[in-house]
Symmetry: C2
Subunit: 187 residues, 2 copies
């Protein structure tokens, strides 16, 4: 098996069995640490945006996020407000942008090298960040072969996560769809 990032286990993320309150809490503490170390300010707005992004393990678009913000504060929130917060969080390595979806997701290991590698389930919407040493080695080899120096890397694998794939097989076998509402249940 290839190496993975540590906790929380991605399979448990996808399986909706994990304590997501813990995910959020950890992320917020880590975020504060990262910002402090970088001499950056995790303002109220930025923290609010990060928390909203962490509401689930599904990538969140800027405009849905904007509406959530507006809903929380009863004031109007314009695009630049959101995009500036997103830019800050991206710069700090606290979130990633999923190019395939034009959406944003919390980084599960903000301290490590900031590769941008995701498994994206097209059924339940969950995006699982992964790191794999051997894979990274091959990436580096490829770049080296071409004399290419990498500044940013994005690997996005779109398909079906284990849970949805299994459920889908059941559909094929049973003749009815157990997963009709699966897409609505966050994390």
């Amino acid at each position: 098996m290839s190496s993975r990032i540590a906790a929380p286990l991605p399979t448990s993320i996808a399986s909706c069995q994990h304590d997501h309150t813990h995910c959020i809490a950890t992320a917020m503490v880590t975020a504060q640490e990262v910002c402090t170390r970088n001499g950056a300010r995790l303002t109220k707005l930025r923290e609010q945006v990060l928390r909203l992004i962490w509401q689930s393990h599904k990538p969140l678009g800027a405009y849905p996020l904007m509406e959530m913000l507006a809903h929380e504060s009863t004031r109007r929130v314009a695009p630049p407000t959101v995009y500036r917060a997103l830019e800050f969080l991206l710069d700090q390595g606290l979130i990633h942008r999923i190019n395939t979806l034009n959406a944003y997701i919390g980084c599960t290991h903000p301290r490590a090298d900031h590769a941008n590698n995701f498994l994206i389930c097209e059924h339940c919407g969950v995006a699982i960040e992964f790191a794999a040493d051997q894979l990274q080695q091959q990436i580096n080899n490829t770049a080296r072969d071409f004399g290419f120096s990498i500044a940013a890397q994005s690997i996005e694998l779109v398909g079906r996560c284990e849970q949805c794939e299994t459920a889908q097989l059941q559909v094929n076998t049973n003749g009815h769809n157990d997963m009709d509402t699966a897409g609505d249940g966050d994390d």
Copy 2:
């Protein structure tokens, strides 16, 4: 060295030394073959769009493409016209979409498995499609480890191609920039 796709050699693409007329000609012939085999129609418009995309090895946005079309035909061309042609060409595997850039580029090996792997030079704008067996193997391993089944894959490495990196080093050494106009010279 990792395995690569066959001709034309990516390094020669980036070096602006290759016979790009040949690239275009080959692409158009292959496109016709692919369409014929698939029972699809490479209409005048679609061929025109494919040819325009193949004008360079730099990803081309839909709107620039639209203007080029309008310029060629003196009639107005609306977005759907372009996007439908792009969709067709994507379906046939004749072009790729570069998610990082919201842009489109000709596929250099439309017959092979349709991975979407690119080295994108942020200096000269050229995108080099690559295939590497060992890398692909690691991708597959990673997916397997997570029980994830891949439907579509996109690897985008952004950085500097060999030529631009070398030129940049010269800048650092000489104290002046030899590459000021490099971004303008297509392939």
